[in-house]
Amino acid sequence: MEETKVLDRVEYEEYESIPVSFRKFGFWIFLSGEIVILGGIVASGILFRLSYPEWFANSEHTNFIISSINTLVLLTGSLTAVLAHKYATFHDWNKVQLFLGLTALCGFTFVGIKFIEYSIEIHHGFIPTRNVFWMFYFGITGLHGLHVLAGTLIIIGVMIYLRKKKVIEAVENAGLYWHFVDIVWLYIFPLFYLT
């Protein structure tokens, strides 16, 4: 399968454009919307934490160990995503598939561990309707978990796409999404687990 070179200027046709490739630009537009959504929810969580003293009594019951493992899982996924991109720039597409696959594995691991974590908490009677803290906890971590799942599915989608077309930017964008989900987690982790 021949490669398709990703060019900023097209053979045969010239484009008037801002100095960014359209794939990257489009992805950042999408990402900025996501930042506002998740940022908004996390910001409301932070505001609530600042005004509700009961927060701390409840946050003792979140599981620091499980979430630390999950943090490592996410960070590992970020590493493998970066490696995937590196090998993409070297056009070593087999290694790309390998590292994307590892990233997806991290994704599924994260979601699986989260599932177990929720089961434990619900078993102990900590349900979303219990009080403000648990409302936000399940709401925010749940939403984040769904984004990890979506990111994993995107990675798999890119892996399938890459079998036909070798587009470096697709790998880069998939990695970008993963990093975004990672960064959001770095705000969530202290908010719910480090108290």
């Binding site: 398709t4 097209v10 008037e16 908004g40």
Partner: protein
Amino acid sequence: MSQVASVVGHHLESGEHEMSFIRKYIFSTDHKTIGKQYLLTGVVMAIFGGALAIFFRINLANPGFLTDSQYNAFVTYHGAIMFFWVAMPILLGGFGNMLIPLMIGARDMAFPTLNMISFWTFFLSSVVLVISFFVPGGAFSGGWTVYPPLSADPERFLGANLGTVLFLLALALEFASMLMGGVNFITTSLTLRAKGLSLMRLPIFVWMQVLASLLFMFSVTPLIAGAIMLLLDIILGTHFFRVEAGKVGDPILWQHLFWFFGHPEVYVILFPALGILFEVITTFARRPVFSYKLVVYASIVAGILSFLVWAHHQFVAGINPLSATGFSITTVLISVPFSMTLVAMGLTYAGGSIRFTPAMLFATFAFAMFIIGGLTGLPLGAVASDIYFHDTYFVVGHFHYTVFTIAVLSTIAGVYHWFPKMFGRRINDTFGKIHAWLTLIFYNGFAFPAFFLGMAGHPRRYATALEFGFLQKYQWIHELMTISSILLLATQIIFLIVFFYSIFAGKEETEPNPWKSTTLEWLAPSPPPHLNWGAFTPVVERGPYEYASNGKDVDFIPQGRLVKIEHMQKA
């Protein structure tokens, strides 16, 4: 970009290959087909939403026609459908998709597959919405603004649990679809322009679509968060918005989240409509936009300001009175950039040679009606008069003079204008002119009296006026409004018949530029083929509105020209 070029190369070398019917018309990635799909779905939803309005207007003229909860459900769905399933898909999904690539000289959108997905997501959202109307338990009936606690406990208050959940899901799908579309519009407009088409040479239409997409993207996201919280309240019984003894919920939070989106949302639909109006008016007045830069900058300022006015919907809803004052100031002042844009629009006519084709009639009516809409916003934005006018028919009058003008009059102007380009045929001119005048008369017949009802203090969302002594004497106004609205819908149904007839059997228009317009889309054949430009590429050499610039035998100079690809240098 290379993706597109390699497809082009492939086509140029091996000739067009036949696509299956499904790939060409159903699961198409061609922006023009997707645009038509959005337009068609929007029109179908408009008939549904319009019919709902007729039914509840009949109830107002003839109380007892509907049950109380039917009335509220019809009002709710009419509002939601008109905003989300008619105005947005037609103005953004329809016109945006059809015209942006053509106007900037591109072959398609930057992400054609994403574009296709965005349409089918929208289609799914329409299906879910219609289903939600008919499910057992009833449709959601708490107003299109979905205020909790009424909406957060639908089983208890409205008996409509499933309907409410499906309504919210349909809304979420619609938002997702428009977000996907927005990514395409912004990226395409900024990265795929023809050579020579700098940003300040863009047609106003394209500027407006980009601004609208940006506004939507940054305003809808908090509401998505709010909708998730509302769904959690309904399904799981959380207390984000629900109020129960000893629990935390804040119904006002929803109002803030909703209106933080709701206000930019009206500009999301206004800007594309203004874009259409500028294109039509410049073409048929044969003059450039009066101060292009003013319009662009004023619109950007208005767009930014639109994020600072939202609580004018909540002046008497429990917010701090001092912040209400602040919002009143921003709201009244936002009329300034808009009045600048409107003066520029009016002065675009001045000095011209105005030809009143149906498109121009609709555009001019839209412009005039929008002036009324804008001016009637001031009694609402001024906080003290809003004490009286809040939630009365004065608001109904105001938003019908703005939203209806945007969603219907401007849209129809655009349809008449670009119909030859999109379908290679004409809609009969005489019919168009009659259509325009009848629409104007019947529309004012139902919308203008609303202001009188508002002055009388008639509250909104009342199934009938007859319960209150201070309203009973205005029942005749309700009857007048109902008759006008029925006649208005009848006129539009006739138009739709003529529209569809003209697509298949209208007079053929082989001339690619029948209106002698300057922008790039008129260089393409009518209708443009897949990938738009064939073996040519457009090159832009001047601004978008070179009309009346030199007074020679031609009174316009097209913005660009087509250059055969062999003559272009490889980059």
